[in-house]
Symmetry: C2
Subunit: 281 residues, 2 copies
């Protein structure tokens, strides 16, 4: 595996690889990799001859009061994990190279960005779309894999790709969970043991929602109410939102159909966790 | 010459052309072509094996009170002119294909866009950068040629390309003028004969500025003042701005150097015209 840190060298690699007729699949990450990331890489390997994993803790998607400085980092370990997955390139640029002095361009997807996570994280998704735009231009992938845990990010990136006529196929990969159901996340490393146990209320509440729908419930608001009550009953957690939305448009879902997503963001101590599930099917 | 109107067919053409190892140069236009456009095409032919001219009157870069509806159009004549220039493809998509219902993405370059023409045309440059982003993804050019008449557009597109790590070379082409000096523009067709004569004050004022600098003047503000007074003295015109700025950063130039640009926007009757010149060299 090649480790590339220079944007220019990355583009040169991609030009050579494309000229040789190989398919490139990008897996963008912020590092501190877990089995969820590794699953994305395996998916990428199945679909493309050459996989590029980017590792970049993107300052532009962190708010001023957020956890950029303490975001967990483990480059050596990450490089070892990526190396074992048959990945061709680990692309790890510096923030100075990605955002040199005078940087002033943003890619903005309206509407989809100012709801759900966008409400408590203003500007977050502009940072995501902008860095993904940069990575797409640097790595020139034919395909890119994103996890469904970040369902809003996924919907926004799909929309950006369609609206800007990007010739990149976006692949969604299902959420990878711990044995007890907690969705894998680099931020899980923040959790104290008691918080880790408490965090299971996210998964359990999603299961409750799915059970309601499996039992015949079709009213999105009723599902949302019951799920919310369940989480409150767990005590000592801070709900950011519980929502039942269309997976593509993120519009509020009054009547549940096979695109309806139950999504939530909950703070356990100082750690904000998100999770979601399709309700039907 | 091939005329392509479907975005999908355009991308397929570009994929085939790139796979064959040919260099693609894009010349974006809004049609109603004049010799200035044709000069851009000839420049493109010199640099690339395959030239694509896009013809799209981009609604997103017109303000609600602007001239979108009356913007001059002459597709048959344009196609004939382009055909005579050895162009490979004339790409002329419809507005419905470029902006389908639900379109909601913008590319925004801050700072450079909220000065000069951006002040009287809010949102204009967001429309320009967004449509250029779409065209770049559809046509996949190695190079693109833009005219220096739209100096602010040129500075903004160069910045967008750098900030978003786009692998497209941006070529600037000098302003092409009528015999008497008026910068060529599709909007010149709006001018009544008396207005056409009056419009020459733009070119004459630029010449005055250049003469001052050739004579040793180095104070940008003094040049601006004299040029402005000259235009006012021509009578019956409405100055939007006269500015002496850095050609790249568009920052106000107090002391003239070889990147200093004298730029102006003036309304003659209902027609807003722009022009500019480097002051030194």
């Amino acid at each position: 595996m090649e480790i590339i840190d220079s944007p220019r060298a990355m583009t040169a690699w991609s030009d050579r690889t494309r000229a040789a007729g190989r398919t490139i699949c990008l897996v963008p990450t912020m590092g501190f990799l877990h089995d969820g990331h590794l699953a994305l890489m395996r998916r990428a390997r199945e679909m493309a001859g050459k996989v590029v994993v980017s590792l970049f803790v993107n300052p532009m998607q962190f708010g001023p009061a957020e956890d950029l400085a303490r975001y967990p980092r483990a480059f050596e370990r990450d490089a070892e994990l990526v190396g074992a997955e048959g990945v061709a390139v680990l692309f790890a640029p510096t923030a100075e190279e990605m955002y040199p002095a005078g940087f002033q361009t943003r890619v903005v997807v309206s509407g989809l960005t100012d709801t759900l996570c966008g409400l408590s994280r203003p500007g977050h998704f502009d940072g995501v779309t902008t860095v993904v735009a940069k990575l797409f231009h640097l790595v020139k992938p034919h395909l890119a894999v994103f996890g469904q845990k970040d369902f809003q990010q996924l919907a926004i990136i799909k929309k950006m790709v369609i609206d800007l006529n990007w010739d990149v196929g976006i692949i969604a990969h299902p959420i990878v969970r711990e044995r007890d159901g907690l969705a894998m996340s680099s931020r899980n490393s923040y959790l104290e043991p008691a918080e880790r146990r408490k965090a299971l209320c996210l998964y359990n509440s999603l299961q409750l929602g799915r059970k309601m729908v499996a039992g015949g419930e079709r009213d999105g608001h009723r599902v949302r109410e019951e799920v919310q009550q369940y989480i409150v009953s767990c005590g000592d957690v801070d709900i950011d939102y519980v929502a039942v939305v269309d997976a593509e448009t993120l519009a509020d879902c009054r009547t549940i159909n096979d695109r309806s997503l139950l999504a939530l963001a909950v703070k356990i101590g100082r750690t904000r966790l998100i999770d979601n599930t399709l309700l039907a099917g």
